[in-house]
């Protein structure tokens, strides 16, 4: 099925993917062993479960898709792992736990679980724990429902590890992880008259260190930073980030391509990164009037915007991510290409996630899109790009140089070559 979200947990040992069919698949990193020294770095399936089912809203006569829009891990606090997964309307908290022992020797039950006849119980014994094959269980612990009229596009766990936010097209709600029957609305941009609607919320995230700060991006290319200490309803922003438009490149598509599809804070909390259709921008939180860095992802598409509008590709929502040290950023493109940009050295590279170019252990060859008339060997012309092969979701291991790239229904894992 088509992968719709990819997320490493805080240690990087677990990698979760959600797909269009409502399933979550969790991969676990293999431990290094003497017999297979190269196996470290491999991820194998750890758990699979059905997180969301398709629903039918009878009142509106509309189907609610089971596609998982986002997964966010909670920091680990005991032996079990917790994650939040959401579809368009409902967020669920899942507990993933291991079971490798089972109790044997019950007094009142047989080995197969049936109750024993009372007269057969002739002695008392203490059940003992015996090892069993490892079983990974996923169980839903909380369901946070009925709080969103519009489609949920983001969830973000707060640094207090007790609350989280969920954002839809017009509203953002604040939840407590323990409370499912109530949430607080903290942003509401729905106009009194829906006819006046011209802007929607596209993404939202909590600051990694300041539990009172969050940002949300809009379809008009703006980012608002809000402080929950200033008021209960954060309709008034504390900071407003917007780059002035370049009048020479204005066209009918300017607004659509400026719409931000993803916003991510750096691990340091000092910067944030936004992805719009053609570029990735890094913003310093202290400077609102323009980004500090701009990276062109696929500028050669600028002259093709008409066709991309026609086939709806212009509405594709690409995500972006930071590496663990915030030195490099990564985002996806078409033709199964993805790009990484090194911020200090200004080096960038285009790689391809496909079966042909990714034999196990083989080094990826850099790819290049030909933008001039003369096509060099190994280059690809813009017209031969496959716009059905889009890489929307990527993730970077929080500490090491291991990346996960979702190419439609395949997941690729790449790591830095270790000599």
């Amino acid at each position: 099925d088509i992968i719709s979200t990819v997320e490493f947990n805080y240690t990087g040992d677990l990698l979760a993917t959600g797909d269009k069919g409502g399933r979550v698949v969790i991969f676990q990193r293999e431990q290094e062993t003497k017999s297979r020294p190269l196996s470290r770095g491999e991820y194998n399936v750890y758990s699979t479960f059905q997180s969301h089912e398709p629903e039918f809203d009878y009142l509106k006569s509309l189907e609610i898709e089971e596609k998982i829009n986002k997964i966010r891990w909670l920091p680990q606090q005991n032996a079990a792992h917790f994650l939040l997964s959401t579809n368009d309307k409902t967020i669920k908290l899942w507990k993933i736990s291991e079971r490798d022992k089972r109790a044997e020797g019950y007094n009142l039950k047989d080995e197969d679980g049936r109750l024993r006849e009372p007269f057969r119980v002739t002695e008392l014994r203490v059940p003992t724990l015996k090892p069993m094959d490892l079983m990974v269980e996923a169980s839903p612990r909380r369901t946070f429902a009925n709080a969103h009229t519009y489609h949920i596009n983001s969830i973000s766990v707060n640094s207090d590890y007790a609350t989280y936010l969920s954002a839809d097209d017009l509203r953002i709600n604040l939840w407590h992880l323990e409370v499912t029957n109530r949430s607080f609305n903290i942003v509401d941009i729905k106009p009194a008259n829906m006819e006046e609607l011209t802007e929607v919320i596209t993404a939202a995230e909590f600051h990694p260190h300041h539990c009172n700060v969050f940002v949300y991006s809009s379809s008009k290319g703006t980012i608002r930073l809000c402080d929950m200490r200033s008021s209960a309803l954060c309709d008034q922003h504390s900071k407003f980030f917007e780059e002035p438009e370049d009048p020479s490149s204005r066209s009918f598509f300017s607004e659509i391509i400026s719409s931000i599809s993803d916003v991510k804070f750096s691990h340091s909390g000092r910067y944030m990164m936004t992805r719009d259709y053609l570029s990735v921008k890094v913003w310093d939180l202290n400077m609102e009037n323009r980004p500090v860095e701009t990276y062109q992802v696929h500028e050669y598409l600028r002259s093709k915007l008409c066709s991309l509008y026609e086939n709806d590709c212009i509405f594709d929502k690409f995500e972006c991510c930071w590496n663990g040290s915030d030195s490099t950023i990564m985002t996806g493109s078409y033709n199964n290409f993805f790009r990484t940009f090194e911020r200090e050295t200004h080096r960038d590279i285009t790689l391809e996630a496909s079966r042909e170019s990714s034999k196990p252990r083989a080094i990826l060859k850099p790819r290049k899109v030909c933008t001039t008339g003369k096509r060099k060997k190994d280059e690809i012309t813009v017209d031969s790009l496959d716009f059905n092969k889009k890489i929307l979701h990527t993730a970077w291991h929080p500490m090491e140089n291991i990346i996960a790239v979702a190419a439609t229904n395949n997941l690729y894992l790449f790591q830095e070559k270790v000599n």
Partner: protein
Amino acid sequence: MFVRGLKRKCFDGEEDIEGTLAGIKAIPSYNLQRQSLLDMSLVKLQLCHMLVEPNLCRSVLIANTVRQIQEEMTQDGTWQMINTQSTGQASLDRLVSTDILCRSSRDQAEGKHVPAYSTFSKDFESDEAQDSSETMSTASSVQAPRNLQSNVWEMENPQENKGNFQKSLDQIFETLENKSPNSVEDLFSEVDNSYYDLDTMLTGMMSNTKMGHCDSLETFSSPTNTASNSNCKSDLNDLDHIVEILVES
């Protein structure tokens, strides 16, 4: 959403220069391309999935684009009646890509005022071909069962049309807000039989998503008598399809 069965010249990117040299006549005018973009946008707004809620972000972005074009057209004074007695089939080939629109709106290709026209879908038969004041046209990027009739504006008063246009965009959002189907009667009452305007088409299409395909025929048949047989059949097929889905679920 791909355009099928449509021959068109693509002027994107590097082919531009060759295009210019090869056929000066083939370069579409800015106005024509803008009209084409407008038609495309209107079609996109109407093609909502029957059973799944439309993407609000996408709808808002397209609606904003439409508003932008409409504002510019009003300023230009090109908001005029489109009279198409001309050939149907040939116009299909002439729906060109709107490369010029991708560049700055300042670099307009020609200042020449080409009378804008829309394309015909060959599936659609208009009973009103003889009626000179109204025409039906279909943006040809639409798949057969969902033949839509995009409208023709009659230039009485640019302000009034702007208001109507705004109203129709508003109605899109209202229906996205899930108004009750009874509002269809209200929509009918607003229809002015003297010209076929955006309101009727858009609201008819939007209420489509709630009521079922066949009902759209009523919307069209009451102001004008142009419900064609081919439309009826394809809509009935859709209705069967929908009933099938509902029964299975």
